[in-house]
């Protein structure tokens, strides 16, 4: 089977031998003439290209906003895509989000508007009223967002249109799609086998990073295997000792799953990226790209997570911190892939701190994760990891040792601060770094230990700007 099949605004289409890295955005605009969906940045930051992709989740309809600029056509197989042109009823009656955007003067230049309408529509369908989060990945340069949020609030009081309520989920596809250039796998063994035989292929989870290779670095993707439709890779299982997270579990899924178990991780994942990015981006992808500023590795290291790697039928596990060898280099063999991330089941002591220029949808300058258990006032265990402080996400054994067995107090924290800086010296940050200087990173990292300590104090004062509510 070399054809991918999906629906566009309710219409069945198929594409034979698609280019593996053809973006959904280009296909919509250039092939289908659906120019309502816009290209604003071509890197998943502005949201002008947002569309709603629907899938069949055990018989029920799941609609999600995604960035069509970082979504490859093969990822569409077996799904639906709805664009801004496809929201009105057949008689022309607009979706409540569209009506309210007009009534509340939510558009000015109108270029971001289709993407905003799609994000709000996807949120409206599931009653999500955290509008700031819903819109974190939709930049508007004209309105200052206030009228858009007013529109979203008004639309929330209106029902979902009948056509959406009655729309059947897409037919699930049981078998994979294979062409000389790519595999959309639907079975783990099939995936492992194919990748072992085609180790030169690029493994693609949500394409939010590989997408940039294509749209920005203009690299060709000669061969690709798509992992996200393999059921075993897209699920979370809780065992006795480990939470087993499939490598292709989207970050949004993980965020919701972690909300009660490790709430600080859940909030870190919220700030990791916009809804659109979180709906596509996968935990395995964020680890496998080995970026020094990925947000999930420090948290995973602090939690003591291990990676289950697979090549063909063979598997091995490595601690996450050992997986990173150097800048964007990892302990991974040709044909080997991350199958699961194994997070030890534990009581929650995790605190994650993400520092960035902008609160939402920004890359960290420093990301510090502290997993510190205090027993009877004494530190019983400590795992501390940072992103943004070295060429790889890294533990701070010195800071951990400075705290272990001692009371959390200004003295032990001061020792940990000194040890932390030693662990990350000498720091090499490019002078023209766009995010923060070495001086800032060093001071902020030290201060995060102080912040952690302040938060642990009883009767604490506000410790975060978001704590201040007027």
């Amino acid at each position: 089977m070399t054809k991918i099949r999906f629906r566009v605004n309710g219409r069945e289409v198929s594409v034979d031998n698609a280019e593996p890295a053809a973006t959904l955005l280009d296909w919509l605009r250039e092939d289908q003439g659906l120019t309502g969906t816009k290209e604003g940045c071509n890197e998943g930051d502005c949201g002008a290209c947002t569309v709603m992709v629907s899938r069949n989740d055990n018989g029920s309809m799941v609609r999600e906003a995604v960035n069509s600029c970082l979504y490859f056509l093969p990822q569409m197989d077996g799904k639906d895509v709805r664009t801004v042109e496809g929201l009105a009823e057949p008689g022309g009656r607009l979706h409540p989000v569209q009506d309210e955007m007009i009534a509340n003067h939510g558009s000015q230049c109108g270029f971001c508007t289709p993407g905003i309408v799609m994000s709000l529509t996807a949120a409206h369908a599931v009653g999500d009223e955290d509008h700031d989060d819903v819109l974190a990945g939709n930049l508007c340069r004209c309105t200052g967002y206030a009228p858009i949020v007013r529109a979203a609030e008004s639309a929330a009081r209106k029902p979902i249109p009948d056509w959406m309520r009655n729309e059947p989920p897409p037919q699930p596809r049981r078998s994979g799609v294979e062409t000389p250039r790519f595999l959309v796998a639907r079975d783990l063994d099939e995936f492992a086998d194919w990748f072992e035989k085609n180790p030169e292929a690029t493994v693609i989870g949500g394409a939010t990073d590989v997408g940039l290779w294509v749209t920005k670095k203009l690299r060709e993707i000669e061969k690709a295997c798509f992992a996200a439709q393999v059921p075993e890779l897209a699920q979370i299982e809780v065992g006795n000792s480990f939470i087993e997270v499939g490598a292709a579990v989207p970050l949004e899924h993980l965020r919701k799953f972690m909300a009660d178990r490790h709430p600080s991780l859940s909030e870190l994942l919220r700030r990791f990226g916009s809804v659109q990015i979180r709906n596509s981006a996968t935990l395995g992808g964020n680890i496998a790209n080995a970026s020094p500023i990925g947000d999930s590795p420090p948290a995973m290291i602090a939690l003591g997570a291990r990676l289950k790697l697979r090549k063909g039928s063979g598997t091995r596990t490595v601690p996450v911190e050992d997986f990173f060898i150097g800048f964007k280099r990892q302990d991974r063999l040709p044909g080997e892939f991350i199958e699961k991330i194994l997070i030890p089941v534990q009581d929650d002591h995790l605190k994650c701190y993400k520092l960035s220029k902008r609160l939402d949808q920004d890359i960290s300058s420093v990301c510090g994760c502290f997993n510190i258990a205090v027993d009877d006032g004494v530190v019983a265990s400590a795992r501390i990891a940072f992103g943004g402080m070295a060429s790889i996400p890294k533990r701070s054994p010195g800071a951990e040792a400075a705290l272990l067995g001692r009371r959390l107090a200004p003295e032990s924290i001061a020792d940990a601060q000194e040890a932390l800086i030693r662990d990350f010296s000498p720091m090499r940050v490019n002078k023209a770094t766009t995010r923060a200087s070495t001086a800032y990173r060093v001071l902020a990292a030290r201060n995060l230990l102080m912040k952690f300590y302040s938060e642990a104090e009883p009767g604490r004062r506000a410790t975060h700007v978001l704590d201040v509510k007027l």
């Binding site: 003067h105 109108g110 770094t433 060093v442």
Partner: protein
């Protein structure tokens, strides 16, 4: 049937929300349309030793590569002094400068091919930072000086003196729609250009010169832009010219749109400034004298920098009477993108200078900064002792005192200042700050001849109205406001007026839609055209009824003559069959202007727009993170033609200004390469960055004292400057980290977490050094 002063929706709102609004890249094109990309210089200052484009030509899909020698006419896209070639000639002056044009079958093929040239440079040290440009005396003009009184002496003699320096970063426009143009060759060498531009006439001019044809051979059309903010005033020239040149040489329609990274790398941004100040105050907090040195990095070409730097000087007073002032302006030439127009056009930077002075003085005088500000406001309109600006224009319309009083009340400023003080005494980690800042912004192009506009109005025999004028729509709602003026003139509902694309073939010799003047100029021109047509209808009916024109009235949708009344359609049909012209042009030139920019004297502005804002913020003293907790905005839009559209400018302008002063940071490396060329690294405000509590209003007392269209005031740029209160509030919070003996520290912009943390450390007497 009143259509003015009503909150009508944006004329394209329904098209926006359904995806039906067409931007340049959405226009259907014929098969065979070609796509362009520029090959860019990687060096900031170099001689090009060799440029090998053979690999580009061999790249898949490439149809042609255009080099300087292939250009049929002028190699120039400058909006000012012809110092900006479309393609570099032998030398390059910034990293990102276009070197050649790739013409290919698709956008992607063109982009890929553009990177394949083999270029050898002989590189020189680029002038990037202020110091090296100053040291090299690299300037566009001698230092300009505007002065009144004897500022040096007044500062020297004052009871209290303050002195300091503040740095203000630039700003990327980040219009959501990147630059785009499409040129379609016509018969006989003519060219039709569709472009995302604020200045169709200039595009027409540049395209004509580049093709070596008169302007009448080029027609430029602009239906809408996906945002402009000044970034499409001159920066769209290059794409339009490239497309026209390629369309001429290939005979095919040619389209070019910048990928976002290319857009940010190639195009100019807001001017950054470094401002030194010395000021003297008396014991009551009245300013006695001030000396400013304004340094700005203009980049490699002149573009509009002189006018921008002039406007910064013209706003060095903001809303304050400066009896003795000396403003020195230094326009530095650097090897960077050529800084260009951006909403406010130098005004905001000039204002930050004096606002910093006010805060600094308040600290020294131990007064509330608001009190110092109020004591220095210009005398109110109607006062017996009106005062003059440093450039000798009498401020006749000052309403900032009234606006401030109202805002202090509605925002609860005084109680909240006390709450902030209490909070800061109790909280060691999170500090709060609050500030009220005023805005007085001069309305008119300072290049006086630009203050003109034209319109073309047709009434068809079925009574439908066709509206056209020289203004362009970039989201600001100009088209609907002007349509309201037209509908009102004919006494017809708004939906009878067809809004049409700006077109140099309909209205010629237009000015850029800029300087907040779009509604003022085009609204008046349209009214003039409409009045011409209604005048003819009146004369016709007067003659039929043996009455006089002034006895014929457009009333309640009808035309009334004595006891008889005609429906509009009926009257229009009568005019048609009586062979009365139902089409008219309109023209407007702003009155009262008289300005000598070299001397810095006269009346550059028709009037001033006013406003004020209170912003409260919180900062994290451990990380420098900061948030806007609440903003209260009160803006004077005169009698607003469309309060919904105008309020949109107020809210949107404030958030855009807040972004400029907090998260939006441009970083160049030592080699002069811009490192922040995409939204992954350049952070404009996201939804959650808007103030958590956000109260915005148009001032109910607003009414233009000059005869502007419907007594409204310009509203495009002024609200951006309300965001200066954000920077001052952050500065206030930083000051709360020190004690009484801490020195005042001007807050540099953008106030990123790093700058805020650095300031906190400095106020606490600690060094923040590079580790």
């Amino acid at each position: 049937m009143n259509v003015i002063y009503k909150p009508s929706e944006h004329d394209a709102a329904k098209l926006h929300v359904t995806g039906a609004a067409r931007y340049v890249d959405d226009l259907p094109t014929v098969k065979g349309t070609l796509h362009l990309a520029f090959g860019l210089s990687d060096a900031a200052r170099a001689k090009i030793l060799s440029l090998d484009v053979d690999p580009v030509r061999r790249s898949p899909g490439v149809v042609d590569v255009i080099l300087t020698g292939d250009l049929p006419g002028a190699n120039d896209v400058s909006p000012s002094i012809k110092d900006e070639p479309l393609l570099a000639e032998g030398e390059v002056y910034y990293a990102g400068q276009p070197l050649f044009i790739v013409v290919a079958g698709s956008h992607h093929e063109a982009r890929k091919a553009a990177r394949r040239a083999k270029i050898e440079y002989e590189e020189f040290d680029p002038l990037v930072d202020y110091e090296s440009a100053i040291e090299a005396e690299s300037r566009f003009e001698e230092a300009r000086v505007y002065q009144t009184g004897d500022a040096e002496a007044a500062v020297g003699a004052a009871a209290h003196r303050v002195e300091g320096e503040v740095e203000i970063g630039g700003q990327e426009h980040f219009y959501l729609e990147g630059q785009a143009a499409l040129a379609i060759p016509q018969e006989n060498g003519d060219m039709h250009v569709c472009v995302s531009s604020q200045h169709p006439t200039e595009v027409q001019h540049k395209v004509a010169d580049s093709l070596g044809v008169p302007m009448n051979a080029v027609r430029v059309e602009v239906r809408r832009m996906g945002g402009g903010f000044g970034g499409k005033e001159s920066q769209s020239n290059a794409l339009a010219v490239a497309c026209a040149v390629a369309a001429r040489s290939t005979g095919s329609p040619c389209k070019m749109r910048y990928d976002r990274d290319d857009d940010m790398t190639i195009t100019g941004k807001r001017h950054d400034f470094r401002i030194r100040y010395r000021a003297g105050f008396d014991a009551d907090g009245k300013i006695q004298g001030v000396v400013f040195d304004q340094y700005t990095r203009c980049g490699w070409a002149l573009d509009l920098s002189l006018a921008v730097a002039d406007r910064a000087m013209l706003h060095a007073d903001n809303a304050y009477y400066l009896p003795n002032a000396k403003i020195n302006s230094h326009r530095l030439r650097t090897h960077m993108q050529s800084a260009t127009a951006f909403r406010g056009f130098g005004g905001p930077q000039g204002m930050i200078g004096i606002e910093t002075v006010m805060d600094h003085a308040a600290r020294v005088l131990e007064m509330d900064p608001l009190e110092v500000r109020r004591r220095n406001y210009y005398a109110p309109a109607g006062s017996a002792n009106l005062q003059k600006t440093p450039y000798r224009m009498t401020v006749e319309d000052c309403v900032i005192g009234e606006i401030t009083d109202e805002l202090v009340e509605s925002s609860n400023y005084l109680e909240r200042r006390e709450e902030v003080r209490k909070w800061n005494a109790e909280n060691p980690i999170i500090k709060r700050g609050i500030a009220l800042t005023p805005v007085k912004f001069g309305i008119s192009f300072t290049l006086t001849h630009l203050n003109q506009a034209g319109a073309l109005v047709h009434v068809y025999q079925d009574g439908s109205i066709h509206l056209n004028h020289g203004g362009t729509e970039m989201g600001q709602g100009l088209f609907v406001k002007v349509a309201q003026v037209a509908a009102d003139a004919f006494g017809q509902p708004l939906d009878t007026v067809k809004i049409t694309a700006t077109d140099t073939g309909k209205v010629p010799n237009t000015s850029a839609t800029a300087a907040s003047a779009g509604s003022d100029l085009n609204g008046m021109a349209v009214k003039c055209a409409c009045d011409e047509i209604t005048g003819r209808i009146k004369s016709m009916l007067a003659e039929m009824h043996q009455s006089s024109s002034d006895q014929v009235r457009f009333e309640g949708g009808k035309i009334v003559v004595g006891d008889e009344s005609y429906g509009f359609k009926e009257a229009v049909h009568l005019a048609y069959v009586n062979r009365v012209s139902l089409s008219a042009t309109g023209f407007y030139a702003t009155p009262k202007l008289n300005w000598d920019r070299l001397m810095g004297r006269g009346r550059p502005f028709f009037y001033f727009a006013y406003g004020a804002a209170v912003t409260e913020v919180a900062i994290d003293t451990l990380t420098g993170e900061n948030r806007i907790l609440r903003a209260d905005l009160l803006n004077d839009a005169g009698k607003s033609i469309n309060p919904a559209i105008d309020l949109g400018q107020v809210e949107g302008g404030y958030v855009q200004g807040a972004g400029w002063l907090t998260t939006e940071e441009l970083v160049w490396d030592d080699a002069g390469r811009l490192k922040t060329h995409a939204p992954s690294t350049y952070k404009i405000p996201a939804c959650s960055d808007r103030p958590a509590v956000f109260n915005s209003a148009l001032w109910s007392g607003g009414c233009n004292s000059e005869s502007t269209i419907c007594k409204s005031k310009a509203v495009g740029e002024p609200p951006l400057m309300l965001a200066i209160s954000v920077l001052m509030a952050i500065s206030d919070a930083v000051a709360a980290c020190g004690n009484e003996s801490s020195a005042y520290l001007p807050m540099d912009a953008p106030a990123t977490p790093e700058r805020v943390l650095k300031a906190v450390e400095k106020v606490r007497g600690r060094e923040f050094d590079a580790a």
